[in-house]
Amino acid sequence: MLNSNIEEIKMKIKNIVWLFIALILISSDVIGQKISGIVYEMTQQKKKVPLPGVNLYWLGTQQGTISDEEGKFELNAALNNSNLLVASFVGYLNDTLEINNNEKSVEILLSNNKTLDEFVVTGKQSNTFVSQIDPLYVQTITGAELSRAACCNLSESFETNASVDVAYSDAVSGAKKIELLGLHGKYSQMMTENIPNLRGLSTTYGLGYIPGTWMESIQVSKGTSSVVNGYESITGQINIEYKKPDTEERLFLNAYVNHIGKLEGNFNGSIKLNNRWSTMLYLHGENLNNKVDHNGDSFVDEPLVKQYHVFNRWKYAHNNYMAQFGVQLLDEDRTAGQVEFDKTENPENSSYYGINIRTKRYQAWGKTGYIFNNNSETSLGFINSYTYHDQSSFFGLTRYNGSENTYYANLILQSEIGSHKHKYSTGLSYLYDVYKESLNDSIFNRMESVPGVFFQYTYSNEKNLTLLLGVRSDFHNLYGTFITPRVHVKYNFNEHTILRSSIGKGYRSANIIAENSYLLASSRNIIVKPTIKQEEAWNYGINLTQIFNINDRDLNINIEFYRTDFVNQVVVDRDQSVSEINIYNLDGKSFSNSYQIEAVYELIPRLDVVAAFRYNDVQMTISNKLEREPLVNRYKGLFSLAYKTNLDKWQFDFTTQLNGDARLPDTRENPAIYQRPENSPVYTIMNVQVTKNFRKWNIYLGVENLTDFKQHDPVIAADDPFGPHFDSSIVWGPIMGRKFYGGIKYWIN
């Protein structure tokens, strides 16, 4: 009766979640009064992360324990002489391990859907955490952290993060850009659930395509990354995990409003159809239909945006096989420019300057995974995705249209050689990109077809050293064959001191018009020198993490240095002439040195403090002269406080960012009134938010840009937008002042 019951429950769970457990015998010393060990979880990049909160008990008894923050546990021998140890954890299959009498130490590896799923982040971890096991320095931003700045999409999700900077690209279109290591976001690889995304034509506006409440977590890894996902990442990788269909949250609703009249609604709901199938639907709609011009320059401070986004995904899991697929449809209409402009007018006949960007984006993706029965360490995964993106737009009298068709496929085999010390991932990839772009009468068409092959080897001495060696070769129809080598080393001096280091290469193809389309809102002529080559760079990084235990709480200090060295870069030169943008291949040096120190500490119970400072030294050869790259802040500071009252009933968040000076593009050719200073001033931005939690819902109120700091006269020659000096691209600070917002979230678990 007892056994059949347990079997039944086990089978049930087996049908829901799919994973495997491996047991490693570390020591075979005698005397077995006590058993101790560590529970790790195996993430899809074969990273071992200690898993806290795992329930461990002897089968048929109530004698058990829970793994601690570091995944460690200790358990007395079973009183009923049971030698079957059960490990169970939310979202993972519990499994039973046979413990022999002479074993006193075990290492348990839990893994869910090795190649396909990310792990579930539990509430016990801090909002942003860094794995101590991962050879790469990967910062995970959890859902709890994302809720600290409740508005609205991916671009706002980094407000409380010290590594990723977010800024407006220009003064009118509302496009946001991110920077990692002081370099433009196009040099970091954006992924959703480990599928490359938001690249190509969506580089400029893509950050606005992912609603904040759809996300479960974000992983940020700086420096060179794994070769498994391609050759594109140069400064780092940002991966977004959406909420999953088989987790506890069954329904979620969110409504948001701010004082200038922006409305936003989000929904996600999941259904478990049976033991094998589950599905989830996500909806998003936003609308700002109120023209605001607080600075009185006749241009709207924030573009009018209407966006709809629908996403449906399906998951199938049975025994060793699992499959997921999804479809996403996005439609966005963005209108900006002068307040008086009416978007129904023909922009060529209008006496006002107007911008309209109409985007349609359709995506379909699938992932399948299979774990081989005879060897649970061996698995095969296949990922493929298709994206169609279409943008039709005008910026005053300039017309830009672009379409992109992308197909991506990646086949990954993961296994080990002899023991857990030697592991590898290998596989084949294929990327197919067709771009059709037109700027007024110029046509820029391009087709890329890139088959690739990769191999990554991981050595771990299972104590303190992990070595990751990766290499890939890609066969590009336009740029020929190229090799991407990448190396990572992690060494733990002791439990509290971890050193990580990495060297690697990355490449990317520049989409010169699409990724610079924010420059179109100016009277500058775009001059592209033939022939634009592939961008190519080395990245070197070193990172030291030191953990001090003060008052029983960990003070985490992280010190790092990253250098990016361009072999070739597509230089976007705004200095040579105020009436031109010159785009050409780098001739000389271009590099970025980024030094950062970050401290994280729980000062008093439930009060988390983050303080960080970064110095950026970014220089490139512009017109044969090595100069500071324009509009990159020389330094950045972040200070954030998060406080929760007991039982999480109230939550208070405060963040302030310090922005150092940045060199502004040369405007000395302009008439005096249209000139801008050589450098931008230093300024700070503050955000606060208060959240009140109830059992099934919460309400939040917040203020962005509390001190109402604004860049004055962001648009050059705003009074003469069709004249020769008009330029909205020299933006270093906020255009919108203080913004009040509020919202409600409701959920059913």
Partner: protein, 122 residues
């Protein structure tokens, strides 16, 4: 000017938090503590019970020790009583001392929280 505003805001913020922290720890005769043995199984159960009990009337603090399955609740005796608290635990789907889990709520629990069934059989 900016720095001054910033400082004032920061101090206000910290003071405010200090105030909230203090008011929580206010000592009063009305505050009582109760220990309830539950049928919680795993981390997910712990979260479920703690999150839900936190919003019961009169509850000031909730901690579930998974090892012993004992739920310790600090509460205001003028707003609730042990009977009500046990009933609330039962309504979440778990046994609370002698009060058996509400069958409807139990059915709604995630599968991994249900396996408690086998504990009663030997």
């Amino acid at each position: 000017m900016m720095m001054k505003t910033m400082k004032i805001l920061l101090i206000t913020f910290i003071l405010q938090m200090g105030f909230i922290a203090n008011s929580q720890e206010e000592k009063d005769d009305k505050f009582k503590e109760i220990e309830i043995k539950t049928s919680a199984q795993c981390e997910m159960c712990k979260e479920r019970i703690e999150k839900n009990m936190a919003f019961e009337k009169g509850v000031k603090d909730v901690v579930l020790d998974l090892e012993t399955k004992v739920l310790t609740i600090k509460y205001r005796s003028d707003k609730t009583d042990p009977g009500k608290l046990k009933k609330a635990v039962s309504k979440i789907g778990y046994d609370a001392d002698d009060v058996a889990a509400d069958p409807k709520a139990y059915e709604k629990l995630p599968d991994c929280c249900k396996k408690g069934g086998h504990d009663h059989e030997h």
